[in-house]
Symmetry: C2
Subunit: 433 residues, 2 copies
């Protein structure tokens, strides 16, 4: 068995423990709240509706809850439906080193399987945490080259994380977990070229469905390639993986999950540092002559659509988002990313005066902005998303986000998730949303 | 829209016509017979059982028949179950330039959707033909490099073929077909490192399920990347595709499907030329001192397991298969590829005297063998699988294969498929097998 396979299997079946375990669980509980918030808020996005209606048409055994409909579906289908809904708004959590969105790929698998087997909330939480952590580590192992080549870690590394979560809940043996991960290696897929289309949120559904299916298959005796991840023709080498083994340092003792970022603007995470920096600048839109933005080069192929024509494309446009925040459009609100906003002449005119500069000296989580006013004055600010946020402060911000998106229903959700999820209450809220 | 996307979309929605259309349809009808034969024969293989039981447990709307159980399942699930069953024996058809197994990825999607929408047999046949042809062309476009890097065209190119077949039956517009193919680009997956495990037959299920799902999604309004196949981060470039546009020459007028090979030995197709060559040599096993085999280098990583320990591994072992045919073990019979045969001391001893030589001068479809007898005499033969077989002769061989595998039931199947499939009769045979 390869080193990576071995490490993931051991981690996947071991108890969650160690000095950081308490904080990591608290962080996971917050991510679960955030996940449920954006899943409920995104349940009626077109992509979420299409995938849900297909699954409902198929029907089947009522094993697990889906967001936005009262009927339950087979665990596989529920994972897919909830995965897509939760990534539909692109408002879910991110881990920059991962490189991707960990919770949307892992939580729906963990949740559906937990409901199916009636696991206690503590087991759901540990399974989601192990899955998220495993996906982050594997995402780091695949590395920058995997992403830059065109793969989407949310989908690819995410599928392995979902496999760990589902496999753990199904109490797979080490042997079975290895087969599940090996099978995942031949199913995991997802290309960055789908960004800006319904294909991107679909990736979360694919990843999480894969985790459920390969874990169930392994439980039933399915065999797969032991060298599926790391071998000469394993997932890593065939998918431009970097193979940096330090990605697994401290696995089981230290938690990368503690450095997950949550989103407080309803657009691509690559744009957030710019928005935070611009929000520190006091200048009315009418006074702006020109905006210069310095950002890390990796974002140029991700969120630098210069002339977005739809609300979805606006989420991936530095220029338009800069124009929006300078014009006091609320970038936290979902309604702000509409086709109408994309076409707004004043915003389009202001966006045309935004110049984006790729700069290797800027970290990926940071941005620097310089606004030149009509009177010649120049205002400059920067921001780094990595600036730490205390757990208690993060919870307050996430609860506020939940209320902003869900209104009064947020209070029930906040109560159902808490620090130890009340699984039946959470599932009921998803079904009745 | 990229050139490849454009060509596939046009081909996918156009009527089947031209000078070769009659022969291509006749060939497809034979492949359909062969597909149903191996699906029925393979229905109780462990991998087929596992996948079927998972799908049956999920249940759902009875839209399409599955092999080996009387109850119908949603079209998605039926495609998956039948895809896996039909590739479980590795006894299905092959196209060497493709590089893979076209029918197992395409036919299950075409069949399930046809049954669901009650399409006439002529539409099933044309959809399967267009899907198979499209997958072969795309497999050629992805090329040798895609395969040698570690991808399995059966799974990858096959998914696009299944998409064309399902999309055509669902009467997708050109616009919708492009979205279906674009979405397929982010789902298609399958690694050669699974060869010798249950992961390989699973690839056929994945491909054909993908075709059904992306076609349904596109019909319902799903959007995806227009550059999903050919763009800078499209499927081709991210998956080591060669991008040879001549792969599409004559598409719609000439049919690569006419050069599909059907299997008459129950093992990996890379071994067949050697078996045919050895079958021309008259030498009792006890008289053999040594066997030398020359084969194309590409097969060395596919079917040269030197010491197989299971019946499944024997199917990918030149040495063991050579020992078997020289010892008069029937390589057409499924029972011959057992764990017991893998362990047979006499076969193991003879296999240890087989020397496999990779030789660039041998074509991929050919083999040369040299048997040195204990008395010092040397016998040499070669064989090329590309030597043409007349359609009428091929039909006779396929009907004989069907009878060898299915006994008396073969006659009903042969009648149900014919040159124009009787869809209800065919589905009934699958369900009651």
């Amino acid at each position: 068995m390869g080193h990576v396979m071995d490490k993931l299997v051991r981690f996947g079946v071991a108890p969650v423990m160690g000095d950081q375990a308490h904080d990591a669980r608290e962080m996971m509980a917050m991510s679960l709240l955030d996940w449920a918030t954006v899943a409920i808020a995104g349940r009626n996005e077109p992509v979420a509706r299409i995938v849900r209606e297909m699954a409902v048409d198929d029907g089947g055994d009522g094993q697990a809850s889906i967001v936005g409909r009262s009927r339950k579906l087979p665990v596989r289908a529920a994972a897919m439906v909830n995965g897509v809904a939760s990534h539909a708004l692109d408002y879910d959590d991110t881990h920059f080193a991962h490189i991707g969105h960990p919770s949307v790929a892992v939580v729906p698998a963990a949740l559906a399987v937990s409901e199916w087997i009636r696991a206690p909330g503590s087991e759901l939480l540990d399974a989601a945490l192990v899955g998220v952590e495993g996906s982050i580590r594997l995402g780091r192992w695949l590395g920058r080259n995997h992403y830059q080549t065109g793969f989407h870690q949310t989908a690819t590394a995410g599928a392995f994380g979902a496999t760990l979560a589902a496999g753990r809940l199904l109490a797979l043996s080490s042997h079975q977990m290895a087969h599940a991960l090996g099978l995942c290696a031949t199913r995991a897929s997802g290309l960055k070229s789908q960004f800006g289309t319904m294909g991107k949120p679909y990736h979360a559904g694919l990843a999480t469905e894969t985790g459920v299916e390969v874990a169930r298959a392994a439980k039933a005796g399915f065999t797969s390639a032991r060298e599926g991840i790391e071998g000469p023709q394993g997932f890593g080498r065939t998918h431009a993986g970097e193979g940096d083994m330090t990605a697994f340092d401290g696995l089981g003792r230290q938690w990368d999950s503690l450095t997950i970022s949550h989103k407080f603007h309803a657009c691509c995470h690559g744009i957030h540092a710019m928005l935070e920096a611009l929000s520190k600048i006091d200048c009315a839109a009418g006074d702006v002559a020109e905006i210069q933005l310095w950002t890390h080069p990796r974002w140029m192929s991700v969120c630098n659509i210069p002339h977005p024509s739809t609300g979805l494309e606006v989420k991936f446009s530095y220029a338009h988002c800069a124009a929006m925040i300078l014009s006091d459009v609320d970038t936290a609100a979902l309604e702000s990313f509409s086709d109408q906003v994309a076409r707004d002449p004043a915003l389009v005119a202001l966006a045309s005066r935004v110049h984006v500069v790729a700069d290797d000296n800027i970290s990926e989580t940071a941005a620097r902005v310089e606004v030149t006013k009509n009177n010649g004055a120049v205002l400059s600010r920067d921001h780094n998303l990595k600036a730490p946020v205390r757990l208690a402060d993060r919870r307050l911000k996430l609860e506020a986000k939940s209320r902003a998106l869900l209104g009064e229903r947020a209070d029930q959700l906040i109560e159902a998730v808490g620090s130890l999820p009340d699984l039946p209450a959470l599932c009921t809220l998803l079904r009745t949303s």
